[in-house]
């Protein structure tokens, strides 16, 4: 049941990204984004980019925009802690940015190491000039991503959609 829930919001989100002309999807592998990553890889038009560390994603999407492509970064809340300095470039240059962040350390978390970054994510993003939207129910996610994409690509802002841990569910492959 949890898998079905996950897959259906990924379908709707991917559709939204395509409708907003997203051409590059950068990611560090994350369980919550597995389905979305697979769709990016299978899609003929979207270029999937596997990163060694999340700040590469901020850089590559800035480059994407400079080159005329819209892009999206898929990451986990812990990865947000790796992008703060690179965000200052996007901030300085007023690059549009769209990030989808799966949250850890906030709801039913079993790994204590995830809690610090989970609790800090929104505050550090906002301190870096990123507008934060939260989606806590599966049926809200696609609509929130749509709103975020508009804010990013048409209003020229940095936007992060935080997908609540409640949505992703409790992982059964423990870190």
């Amino acid at each position: 049941m949890a898998l079905k829930k996950k897959t259906s919001w990924s379908n709707a989100v991917f559709k939204t990204l395509k409708e907003n002309n997203v051409k590059q999807i950068a990611y560090v592998p994350d369980a919550g984004h597995t389905s979305l990553i697979e769709k990016a890889i299978d899609d003929n038009i979207v270029k999937p980019i596997s990163l060694t560390s999340e700040q590469e994603g901020i850089a590559v999407l800035s480059g994407a925009w400079l080159g005329g492509d819209a892009g999206a970064l898929l990451l986990q809340s812990s990865g947000v802690g790796n992008i703060i300095n690179m965000l200052s470039m996007a901030n300085e240059c007023r690059f549009p940015l769209l990030m989808l962040v799966t949250m850890r350390g906030e709801w039913g978390e079993f790994n204590p190491w995830q809690v610090p970054m989970g609790q800090a994510t929104q505050a550090v993003l906002e301190a870096s000039g990123v507008i934060v939207h939260r989606a806590e129910e599966p049926q809200d996610i696609a609509e929130t991503v749509e709103a975020a994409a508009k804010l990013a690509f048409e209003a020229g802002r940095m936007v992060a959609v935080l997908i609540g841990q409640r949505v992703v569910g409790v992982k059964d492959w423990a870190k």
Binding site: P116, A120, A123, A127
Partner: protein, 176 residues
Amino acid sequence: MVGKTQNKRHWSVGVHQLFKKIGIKQIAYVPDGGLAQLIKRCQDDRSIRSVVLTTEEEGVAQMAGAWLGGERGVLLTQSGGVGNCINMLSMIQECRIPLLSLVSMRGEWGETFPWQVPMGQSTIPALEAANVIVHHVGEAEKVLETVNAAAKLAFDANRAVSVIISQRISDSEAKG
């Protein structure tokens, strides 16, 4: 020239001596103008191992290792580098590892290079969100006492502490 600031000792002299007094054995840094004199004193001191990093989060990890191995270290970075450290700081938080860092500010006072401003403005909120206690110091005369206080909080009270050295200080040094 090291030590020559209006006939007063540069603050790095006292801070380096403090480091020795409290048993600092490792420093990790990415080269930075604001902390250059302190870095040079530590590099020239054979009792301190000075490690140059490719990126600042390596230094957070190294400081954790130093403490785990029973030694004291200090992380020296510029404000921009703080942005690279936020995820690694979650290890410091989770493990309650003492951490002392000195951060020289850009993008805060009289900054002329626009690219430094975003990170300059978000340095303190980002550190505080990562559960680091921040002591901000705006005058050269107060740097030593602030580092001393921060070191106590870090190593005796087991906390992560950053001494934020205002751009005002390096700015007035530059003016001579």
